[in-house]
């Protein structure tokens, strides 16, 4: 059985990993030069509790299920996940009513541990919150993670278990016979397949159209963010939401797993031609600031590390669109993966493999006895005890050479990232957090380029930031 998964975002990656538990031939095809660099790269990074999604929706079901899987998943795949809990805060009676609605909704969705907190208890938990708060809804099961690492870790583990990863090839068409897909056509190759799973994120509608399968039209709903410096770490302890609006969960404030603070996102619907343009705007960023200030009036907004934006794959139905195509029998859509997609993805992966492929389609898959569920992350030496770090340096001196001073990343970590597939500066950055600190790579970027040059046996001028044409240096100053 040859299965092609199109798109290595959090959905495609976790589906590939789920499939690698079985005796099948899995090929994950990604048009970018790295995994997890689409929608999965830029979002709020929240593992949602699941009270926000209307009962009965597909996303409500998978959000709560996915949330319950994160703890184990993060241990198996060794990525950061912190179950810090969330608060939705209400400032007036109207907002308090919304809290009550969310509470009922959450209970109906079977979210565990939801509680309404009075003002005092809210402020005790979140001391820097605007004291005008009246009440809050506490969800202990909400957490935070590093979304791209979920995808990277899942793919590493899938590959360890035999899956193949194809990077830098976009799917441009399909060859069909008798209404079934027999080949996936990419910009470079053709792959013979028995089954195709469409996880192409913002572009999943285009892929479905190419295949002649059902689809919903996708358009980007943009969210702009501001990331604040670790110096402010501790100012915010939970994921803090305002009460949601019609279109989104609102502009929120939350800690990141490595101690910074994230503000955002806005919600702005864009035409589908803007699918690859996550632009930030003056208006958007001011809106983020204003709203964050309303929640945390004492937050010092002069400590900006960077601003960015992400695009939600939204559809008019406002729900995930997941299922086997009726028109093309060996084609499965995982589409309209809006929020809370990151949370839902592990549960969706299981559902696709167990209930769609094995159940609905009736493929009988045999479990591999030698499946190894564990993947080890790249060691951050500076976080080890001094004794252990000392040992590691004795074994390999490069573990003692710090290249990124802000985040204390060693040369050994950079080399390890390259061994695991980093080919671009972003590839190193998102795997090691080098260049991710307050100086944004102004010290270490040229040094990391030297390491990439050496390890890949290439020339500096062929290195890129993230994609084929995002070159960094031009010719030589002198020959």
């Amino acid at each position: 059985m040859r299965i092609a998964v199109i798109g290595a975002g959090v959905f495609g990656s976790l589906i590939a990993r789920e499939l690698s538990k079985y005796d099948v031939d899995v090929t994950l095809i990604e048009k970018n030069l790295d995994v997890g660099m689409g929608v999965t790269k830029a979002n709020s990074a929240i593992v949602h509790a699941g009270y926000d999604d209307p009962p009965g929706t597909v996303r409500a079901k998978f959000c709560v299920l996915g949330n319950s899987m994160y703890e184990d998943l993060s241990k198996e795949l060794d990525f950061e996940y912190k179950k810090i809990g969330s608060l939705v805060v209400a400032f007036d009676d109207r907002e308090v009513k919304v809290l009550m609605k969310l509470l009922r909704q959450g209970e109906e969705n079977k979210v565990e541990g939801l509680r309404i907190l009075e003002r005092e208890e809210t402020l005790a938990m979140e001391p820097n919150l605007n004291p005008a708060v009246k009440m809050s809804l506490f969800a202990p099961s909400a957490g935070i993670t590093e979304p791209w690492m979920v995808a990277i870790a899942a793919v590493e583990n899938a590959m360890e278990n035999g899956a193949k990863l194809i990077l830098g090839e976009g799917v441009v068409g399909f060859e069909k016979r008798n209404g079934r897909i027999v080949k996936v056509v990419t910009t470079r190759n053709r792959y013979e397949v028995d089954l195709v799973i469409n996880c192409a994120g913002l572009h999943a509608d285009e892929i479905a159209k190419m295949a002649g399968a059902e689809h919903v039209d996708l358009y980007p709903r943009k969210g702009e963010y501001i990331l604040l410096d670790k110096k402010l770490g501790g100012h915010v302890r939970h994921v803090v939401f305002p009460v949601p609006t019609e279109t989104s969960k609102g502009i929120l404030v939350l800690p990141t797993v490595d101690g910074g603070i994230l503000l955002g996102p806005t919600a702005e619907d864009l035409p589908s031609v803007m699918k690859d343009r996550p632009l930030t705007t003056r208006e958007g960023l001011s809106k983020v600031k204003e709203n964050a200030k309303r929640l945390f009036p004492r937050l010092d907004l002069s400590y900006v590390v960077k601003t960015f934006s992400g695009l939600r794959p939204e559809s008019p139905r406002r729900d995930f669109y997941i299922g086997r195509s009726k028109l093309v029998g060996n084609f499965i859509n995982v589409m309209a993966t809006r929020s809370p997609g990151l949370t839902a993805a592990p549960a969706v992966a299981k559902y696709v493999v167990e209930e769609i492929i094995q159940g609905e389609i009736g493929v009988s898959l045999t479990r591999r006895k030698d499946f190894n569920p564990f993947r080890k992350g790249i060691v951050h030496y500076a976080s080890l005890s001094l004794e252990r770090w000392q040992e590691e340096i004795r074994r390999d001196p490069r573990a003692g050479k710090i290249v990124c001073f802000c985040n204390e990343v060693t040369e050994k970590e950079v080399i390890e990232a390259i061994k695991r597939g980093a080919r671009t500066l972003d590839g190193v950055k998102f795997r090691t957090r080098a260049m991710f600190g307050r100086c944004q790579g102004n010290f270490c970027m040229p040094r990391i380029m030297k390491i990439l040059e050496r390890e890949l046996g290439t020339d500096m001028s062929s290195l890129t930031l993230k994609s084929e044409n995002s070159w960094i240096v031009d010719g030589k100053v002198r020959e």
Partner: protein, 404 residues
């Protein structure tokens, strides 16, 4: 390892400090995280260094070389590629890491000379795409001077301080087309001499009262949008101009690096650097600091003087001498930055002052000291020695510039 003084940072300040410590007969070790000493000087291959200190015009690397040589001659222990992981203030111990492993340095005094870092693009909150091709001047210089690479083909420069101006000339000479320098202030940030020699002589336009309002390019930078700004630096709609460039070089300021001591010592509210006395002593008496981590200096010569001062007093401290009491130095009218933060009568007070605005004729007033200056601009730092007699009996020293 046990020493009298540890110096953190091997830039101009740290090298000067280490030499001074050793001159005092104390045992010193210098810790540098980069592969060589010299710090930011290594990147500045233009002229203009050393006019005060050596009475000669040197390039950055030449200036650094003289100190490197002296360090070698004096047999001063220098640990390069070594990172200070932690500082134990109570035990006076440092944990340092290198390819040789983790070491503990026990010391009696410390000179912190970690320099400054460039303000990063991300913190400017410029709207638009996030393409490659946006570099700080330091990264661009490193590419050209150390790696022998050009950062692009057509460039725009943001920031008209001396670094931005010199970058414009350098890039032009290396064959990169520089389409302009953008400055948000109504006047250039750097020296007039540099405006003439680096821009006018090459026909590079300077866009004053302007800023970058958007960057465009899905992969590599393609366009930069520049607009005029009002008095509050807010862009004025309708004044946008689009430049087709593949490179944007930023020279938008330096930030003192205070990370290791942050939350431990007092910070100079005017410079955001580590607060020190005129001896270089911080609010923790065994810790001294000097150079760009205390305030951003205009000239490396000044940094050297301050490094020497900190080195001398750190060595004396290690030998058991104690200093003080200190008198606070505060910024008064029209003063944006004043360094040092305290006056210790053990040495004469050398003040470094930046005004808040352009002042055609201004009178510097410090205690009973007065001196008149012409054409004071915020981008040029005043260095003034205040004789002791003007400060006698003051419980607080306010530094003011009165407009005349």
């Amino acid at each position: 390892m046990k020493v009298d003084v540890v110096v953190i940072g091997g830039g101009a300040a740290g090298m000067a400090a280490a030499l001074k410590v050793s001159e005092q007969g104390a045992r010193v070790v210098l810790v540098e995280r980069d592969e060589r000493v010299g710090g930011i000087l290594n990147q500045c291959i233009h002229n203009g260094f050393g006019l005060h200190y050596f009475r000669e015009e040197l390039t950055g690397p030449e200036y650094a070389e003289r100190f490197k040589k002296a360090l070698e001659e004096k047999d001063i222990e220098v640990l390069t590629n070594t990172f200070v992981k932690a500082l134990d203030v109570r035990e006076k111990k440092l944990v340092v890491v290198s390819e040789d492993g983790i070491r503990i340095l026990e010391t009696k005094a410390l000179v912190y000379a970690a320099g400054a870092r460039e303000r990063a693009f991300g913190s400017l909150m410029v709207p638009g795409d996030r393409p490659s091709g946006i570099f700080t001047a330091g990264v661009a210089q490193r590419f050209m001077n150390v790696e022998n690479r050009l950062p692009g083909k057509r460039a725009l420069i943001l920031g008209s301080g001396d670094i931005g101006l010199i970058m414009a000339r350098r890039l032009t000479l290396e064959g990169v087309e520089v389409v302009g320098v953008v400055e948000r202030l109504p006047y250039p940030g750097g020296l007039l001499r540099n405006v003439i020699q680096c821009l006018e002589d090459f026909g590079i336009p300077l866009f004053l009262s302007s800023t970058v309002v958007e960057v465009r390019g899905r992969e590599r930078l393609e366009e930069v949008v520049v607009a005029k700004v009002d008095e509050n630096f807010q862009p004025i709609p309708g004044t946008e101009k689009v430049f087709e460039v593949d490179t944007l070089i930023l020279s938008v300021g330096l930030i003192p690096q205070i990370e290791l001591l942050e939350d431990l010592v007092e910070v100079n509210p005017t410079s955001k650097g580590i607060a020190t006395s005129n001896l270089g002593q911080t609010s923790i008496e065994w810790i001294f600091a000097a150079g760009n981590c205390t305030a951003i200096y205009d000239l490396v010569d000044y940094v050297t003087y301050e490094g020497e001062m900190a080195g001398k007093y750190a060595a004396l401290y290690a030998k058991g001498e104690r200093f003080g009491p200190k008198v606070a130095v505060k910024a008064g009218e029209n003063v944006m930055v004043v360094q040092p933060n305290w006056y210790d009568p053990s040495e004469e007070l050398t003040l470094y002052v930046r005004t808040r605005k352009v002042i055609e004729k201004g009178r510097l007033v410090v205690g009973s000291f007065e001196k008149t200056f012409e054409e004071l601009v915020p981008s040029e730092m005043l260095r003034v020695k205040i004789p002791r007699r003007h400060l006698n009996g003051l419980s607080e020293i306010v530094v003011e510039v009165k407009e005349e």
